[in-house]
């Protein structure tokens, strides 16, 4: 596998992690706003 693909996969995994974290923050804020 070329290094280009490796970097692409690492970048995609990093983005997936950040995206899921942002969704988690979104849920936490919604919960707080309801209180």
């Amino acid at each position: 596998m070329s290094s280009n693909y490796m970097v692409m996969i690492v970048t995609l995994i990093s983005w997936a992690g950040l995206f899921l974290y942002l969704l988690k923050v979104e849920r936490q804020l919604k919960k707080r706003e309801r209180q």
Binding site: N4, V25, E26
Partner: protein, 221 residues
């Protein structure tokens, strides 16, 4: 909420396209793919600073503290995107120029922008009274908004720079990119602005909750 999932999917698409397409710059090769992330990050930072300045102006006109909170939220996100642009630019500089930092006009003006907005947060920390803090911050962010276009677009073009300048449009005014590269680049610009909007909204909502908690602490407890 749907547009947040769209942002997630669009960013994944941009990442795949950025690495699957032929490198946008043949001489530099694969390292030139950073262009798909560096330029949109700088654009999102600029948009954030303009929005912050607009909210600063809204505060001065209406004296509504919501506008002050939104100006701070936008500047916070703008500082993050500009830092990403600065770091990715330094990495690209190391590949193409052989050094991370050489005080090129582009690097220097972006650093100046970062310092201007970092000072904005220092100012906010230094003033305790909410309406005094909001008034001073609004004037400062408005001045920052006037300076930002010069620092981003005008000053770097006034001096000799190694930074690529004909990436989007050639010296003759023609579109310089191939269609797939241009489309990916356009999609990356839109996606980064959407990501900015999402982060701005989160920062604003978190700021509102913090204000409510501070109020409760001072007046209820």
């Amino acid at each position: 909420m749907w547009w947040k999932y769209l942002t997630g999917a669009a960013m994944a698409g941009v990442i795949v396209a950025a690495f699957m397409l032929p490198a946008p710059q043949i001489q530099i090769g694969d390292a030139s793919r950073i262009f798909f992330f560096h330029v949109p990050a700088a654009l999102a930072g600029f948009v954030a600073f303009v929005v912050a300045a607009v909210y600063g102006a809204v505060y001065l006109k209406t004296r509504n503290l919501v506008a002050d909170r939104r100006a701070a939220a936008s500047a916070e996100v703008g500082l993050t995107f500009s830092t990403i642009a600065l770091i990715s630019g330094a990495i690209f500089a190391n590949v193409t120029w052989g050094v991370f930092w050489n005080w090129d006009p582009r690097e220097t003006t972006l650093l100046a922008v970062l310092l201007v907005y970092a000072a904005y947060f220092a100012l906010r920390q230094a003033v305790g009274h909410p309406s005094t803090r909001a008034r001073l911050s609004a004037v400062y962010i408005l001045l920052g908004g006037v300076a930002a276009p010069f620092l981003f677009f005008v000053l770097p073009r006034m001096y000799v720079s190694l930074h690529p300048r004909d990436t989007l449009v050639s010296g003759g005014g023609e579109f310089a990119m191939t269609l797939p590269v241009g489309l990916t680049f356009g999609a990356a610009m839109v996606t980064y602005v959407l990501l900015y909007l999402w982060l701005f909204q989160l920062a604003d909502r978190a700021g509102r909750i913090k204000e409510e908690l501070d109020y409760q602490r001072e007046h209820v407890l």
